[in-house]
């Protein structure tokens, strides 16, 4: 992970909405960045370098937006980078920013991830029809729904498990004022009666399309020591595998397992369900909670749905997942991974407000993935310095 310790000392995020018509692209990022700086007790001048991340440029029609955004984010005269690793980008951007610290090169780095999806439309941006590519007749859900069916076949999970996740995460979002979706009377019946899109995925099993940004200030050990509420980085890992290869396990991808194993090894985690207090995990379709519970080793293969069904992942369960409401409640695609990383940090910092969960070990996990589940990025943060 690096010889130098690093800690999150400031976190900020926007109000997520389907369309933030009140702000420019720069204004959206600044809303998150200024909040993170204020949380860190810093100004633009205190920052050594800026790292931004987002999903494809075609969403907003701005190529290499770090160029246009340099002035807006205090980067003039400094190093600035832009990361793009598909849906995992919010996580990988955080990791690139953190490594600028753990490498010993910088002391204070600002990182921001965003998407302003209302400038175009997510379906268009993700699946621009290119010549010579197999036509995507059934949209993004047409790619993921068959994998969910495969998971159900492999695990024997009952059909309502996904709906339980949809209800749990939407209820959690009611405590998060910045979440995009607030559905006060959400219950199982409402999810079960929502329109069947891509069987077995119903409308309320899917994530929304949001405008939003997330920002963090990450500092070195001295900066962390001076912070009233640091979230120390205990481990960071990224893994990629090819998109479509022969005999690929798309339900439980090896890259996710390898990434988690590397992460746990760095952080000294042997039983993630016991050794961690909570996790913020990228769950864009409800069924991905049980799938990732297994992929990330929170339980044995085939048992993920049992944890969900037993309420283990609820905010008051023994291993809460996504008490912020998760991707199912806010999904500015390029920012969604960083929101997971940042929400894990907020829990560790006891700054999660009404959705703060009980902390025992003082450690939490953030997770992001992207593409056809071939890109993964993860971290673990804790309220104490790593050994």
């Amino acid at each position: 992970m690096g010889e130098q310790r690093a800690a999150v000392v400031g976190v900020g995020q926007t109000q997520h909405r389907s369309a933030r018509k009140d702000v420019s692209i720069a204004g959206l990022l600044r809303e998150a960045a200024v909040e993170a700086l204020e949380d860190a007790g810093m100004t633009w001048k205190d920052i050594d370098a800026v790292v931004i991340g987002k999903a494809p440029d075609m969403f907003e029609g701005v190529a290499m937006p770090e160029l246009y955004l340099a002035d807006a984010l205090g980067a003039v005269g400094k190093p600035m980078m832009r990361v793009h690793t598909a849906g995992s980008v919010g996580g990988s951007t955080t990791i690139v920013a953190s490594k600028l610290i753990t490498s010993g090169v910088h002391r204070r780095v600002l990182t921001v991830a965003y998407e302003k999806q209302s400038e175009s439309n997510a379906t268009w941006g993700l699946s621009v029809a290119m010549p010579f590519q197999a036509p995507l007749v059934a949209g993004a859900g047409g790619f993921f729904a068959p994998l969910i069916r495969a998971y159900i076949a492999r695990s024997g999970a009952p059909s309502h498990i996904g709906h339980l996740v949809s209800v749990k995460d939407r209820r959690a979002a009611l405590r998060n004022p910045k979440a995009h979706l607030h559905i006060p009377d959400i219950d199982l019946k409402m999810v079960e009666e929502s329109f069947m899109l891509w069987e077995p995925i119903r409308y309320l099993d899917t994530c929304p399309s949001s405008d939003g940004a997330m920002a963090m200030v990450i500092g070195d050990e001295k900066v962390g020591d001076a912070s009233a509420a640091p979230a120390w980085i205990h481990g960071m890992a990224m893994r990629s595998e090819p998109t479509m290869f022969a005999r690929r396990d798309q339900v439980n991808p090896q890259a996710g397992k390898d990434c988690a194993a590397d992460l746990y090894q760095q952080a000294g985690i042997t039983h993630p369900r016991k050794d961690l207090d909570m996790a913020e995990v990228y769950v864009p379709f409800s069924w991905y909670e049980p799938m990732w519970l297994e992929n990330l080793g929170f339980c044995a293969d085939g048992d993920g749905w049992k944890l969900t069904e037993a309420g283990a992942t609820a905010p008051d369960g023994d291993i809460p997942w996504n008490p912020s409401g998760g991707v199912l409640s806010s999904n500015p695609i390029g920012a969604s991974g960083m929101i997971r990383f940042g929400e894990a940090a907020q829990q560790v910092r006891r700054r999660a407000g009404d959705y703060q969960v009980e902390m025992k070990t003082g450690r939490a996990m953030g997770h992001a993935y992207g593409g056809g589940s071939q890109f993964f990025s993860m971290w673990i943060v804790g309220d104490k310095k790593p050994a």
């Binding site: 018509k21 007749v137 949209g139 899109l197 290869f245 022969a246």
Partner: protein
């Protein structure tokens, strides 16, 4: 080597990007609609035009708006002999220039309609020529025009596109962006597409690999080695998993809902092939179904030569025979 296929490709978000502009850009665009140019004060006292929400060097918020211009000075310029019609403001030769409006401390990239390159010089004085139809856009200034000594700027003409409804400040803009490409299929995909036009599915295998890829993009992704060994793959296979689609209109190629989109492992290949399954009721659909391709009458070098897949009549495949493809 056969020439590989090249196809024209237009990248354009239909209707243009819907930009919200925020308070500062919005105020500036509103002023343009009103026929005036405004800048903002930044922390060192300079006036920034066009204004952003932030000081371009310190990133601090900006201060008060001040009206500038309308006359300005050209700081540098270039001549555009062949305008990009439909994109750039003018369809006759013009200059791009950095223009510093009087009272501003920074310059604005805009266009000068000078008639001829010989009219252009650094330091020349220019004035905005306002469009009568103004919507709140940098294009509301139709162009800047050279100004002779002592000449005064014309004020903006009354707007011709005022509606009866009360207009609020400008909060958004539409940004049409259209780019065109000629995309190359590449050697491996061309082999596949030629196969499609012959009613067969061409696969490829890397010398180092046991795996056969149908519709290879050129490599075995596990090794990065070229799939240079040509292998024909059967036009039948096993459905590993699928979904039933209930959303109409996802694609021009989509049949009426509900329909089945499936992953198929073709006999002789080891990767996933996507296809629509027809010829049975959706509630009869199942994993392990054996299917065969239904080819179009007129074959073309295109995926669409396979219209869809239908049950082959063979017994379903045992789960164990395809589970490693899930």
């Amino acid at each position: 080597m056969t020439e590989t296929f090249v196809s024209h490709h237009v990248l354009e978000y239909p209707g243009g990007y819907t930009r919200s502009v925020g308070p500062v850009v919005g105020r500036f665009l509103t002023s343009l609609r009103d026929g005036k140019i405004e800048g903002v004060k930044i922390s060192d006292g300079r006036v920034l035009v066009p204004p952003t929400e932030y000081d371009p060097v310190t990133s601090d918020p900006v201060g008060d708006f001040v009206e500038v211009g309308p006359l300005g000075t050209v700081e540098t310029w270039t001549w555009v002999e062949k305008p990009r019609v439909g994109k750039q403001l003018l369809d006759k030769p013009f200059a791009f220039a950095l223009i510093r409006p009087d009272g501003a401390d920074t310059a604005w990239l805009h266009v000068v309609d000078a008639g001829s390159k010989d009219m252009m010089s650094t330091g020349m004085r220019v004035a905005p020529r306002w469009s009568a139809e103004r919507v709140g856009s940098v294009r509301d200034i139709a162009a800047w025009v050279p100004l002779s000594d002592g000449e005064e700027a014309q004020t903006a003409p009354p707007r011709t596109n005022v509606s009866d409804e009360e207009e609020g400040p400008v909060t958004g803009m539409i940004s049409p962006i259209r780019l065109e490409y000629d995309v190359t299929a590449g050697e491996a995909l061309t082999r596949f597409l030629v196969g499609m036009s012959q009613g067969k599915i061409a696969g490829g295998r890397a010398p180092s690999s046991d795996e056969v890829y149908a519709a290879s993009r050129g490599t075995d992704p596990k090794t990065g080695d070229p799939t240079s060994i040509e292998v024909d793959v059967a036009d039948r296979g096993t459905v590993t998993t699928y979904c039933v689609v209930n959303i109409p209109g996802l694609s021009d190629l989509a049949p009426p809902v509900p329909y089945v989109s499936a992953q198929i492992v073709l006999d002789g290949a080891n990767n996933m092939f996507f296809g629509l399954i027809r010829g049975l009721e959706v509630d009869e659909m199942r994993m392990g179904l054996r299917v065969k391709a239904v080819w179009a009458e007129e074959l073309k070098p295109d995926y669409r030569s396979i219209l869809h897949w239908e049950p082959s009549g063979e017994p379903d495949a045992e789960y164990d025979t395809y589970k490693e493809y899930l």
